[in-house]
Subunit: 255 residues, 2 copies
DNA sequence: CGCCCGCTTGATCGTCATCAAGGGCGGTGG
DNA sequence: CCACCGCCCTTGATGACGATCAAGCGGGCG
């Protein structure tokens, strides 16, 4: 994976300024890290740059995707909205992450819409580029399969969360996730976006999230200061989680 | 896809009796329908037959899967269970459908357990067979990707359902799904398994499901007789669904 | 300075789970 | 053929969790 510093100034970027090095960006993404240079070049030829300003919609629900997206900078949310104008955030996509692959392969209308949560810089990679890479390199196909599998697993995790855990448990799980590795002691973290988006991601109203954070503070499990949260004792928070009553004790019995 | 009637009496079946034609079964599955005969033979070599009696556990949560499963006959449920012994059914797998691919590719512990809902007959296909097929045939890789994408879409649909729809709406959606194509008029259907499993699949308690079916009956939208349900008027049921209040109107606003 | 927006706090209400009995149907045995 | 039992499902009464409605607070920015 030698120097891709060459001025691969790819497709039709909408934006002024930096003729960004698409090949270089691609080569750094987890999915593409093991591709040969020539393959990166091909991929770059199928890619283009997209700039989005905060609040801008990338695509609506129902769109047919002929490629997928990688976030380079900024943040994108995927969500669906009910006819009544309410909405539910499914995922918050951070730099280095991608989305839309599944709907690209399926060639079915996308069930969610995508909106920039901040000024954002994306790569769009057309289907043909990916199909070519799959044809050339079966290891790439496997990595793509593994990538989709990861998504699937995380959606299953969400379903488990919504089904089996109370709102407080979901919030704690989210905090522990953001706090990452530290297994004990304290950890400081910053919420990746506004609280009402987080709330929706966790299937809560902003009011409920606020109350839960308040309660956790009162119990001296965390300290909240705006978007900055300190988990005072990772171990204690985890065990508090376990002690909580389950939310939806569905019926038991075997089939 | 000529005669695979040859006695491909595959791997170590646990069961007595019929040396079932694994190649023939594989060739009929959606995923494998376009493979060449020689490829089917290779796949069959990586496959074996598994018999399960009603209630038997196929694998527990946390298992590492080194292959995936195809239901030939019977029914399998995938579910997770909380420490308190409650459980939530994620999927009900019918003949011709497969499961476990994602966890096979990921090589991570499976987040759900699998249990037979009836006496069941499965094929197990080892990872090496699939990897070989991917290496030989990039079209197969694409089909595998499309297969995972379908799963992903249906999980997203579930998340939408749980987040945005009331319990009555979920039940109606389920009934409309089972009823299938008829866009208007009436349709009769049979629940694929016991009501308490259905309830769990829909994230309800059996009591709630019972009450909802009762109410829909009283409104003369459906008629229930044991596992047999008649949708009296597809169009009316659909529109009733639309008129219902949304369940969890989460907050709005854009980011 | 004052407005707007994101967040918090309080009061109330609805949906759905829980707990507790009561039917109905099929199977088994007398 | 009928009696008994178990299992699944239903029905009723109650309660809790979290949504809704409605103010109030604070901080950033024009």
């Amino acid at each position: 994976m030698a120097n891709l510093g060459c001025p691969l100034k790819g497709g039709a970027g909408k934006r002024t300024g930096s003729p960004i090095n698409i090949g270089g960006l691609l080569a750094n993404l987890p999915l593409f890290q093991q591709l040969r240079e020539s393959e990166i070049v091909n991929l770059a030829a199928a890619a283009r740059e997209i700039g989005l300003s905060k609040g801008q919609i990338l695509f609506q629900r129902g769109t047919l995707l002929d490629g997928f997206y990688v976030v380079v900078q900024g943040q994108v949310k995927l969500a669906f909205s009910s006819p009544q104008g309410h909405e539910k955030v499914v995922a918050i996509i951070e730099p280095g992450q991608s989305f839309g692959e599944a709907m690209m392969f399926l060639e079915k209308p996308c069930p969610v819409f995508a909106q920039a949560l901040a000024d954002t810089h994306l790569l769009y990679i057309a289907k043909r580029g990916i199909f070519a890479a799959i044809d050339h390199d079966s290891a790439f196909a496997r990595r793509m399969l593994a990538g989709l599998s990861i998504r699937l697993r995380s959606l299953i995790h969400d379903v488990e969360d919504y089904s089996l855990h109370s709102s407080t448990q979901r919030v704690i799980g989210f905090l522990l996730h953001l706090a990452g590795t530290p297994d004990s002691g304290s950890a400081t973290l910053e919420l990746p976006t506004s609280k009402h988006v987080i709330a929706s991601r966790l299937n809560l109203t902003p009011e409920t999230l606020s109350r839960i954070l308040h309660d956790l503070s009162e119990s001296e499990l965390i300290a909240v200061k705006g978007r900055h949260i300190t988990v005072l004792d990772m171990a204690r928070l985890r065990q508090f989680d376990d002690l909580l009553p389950p939310s939806h004790p569905l019926c038991d019995k075997s089939g």
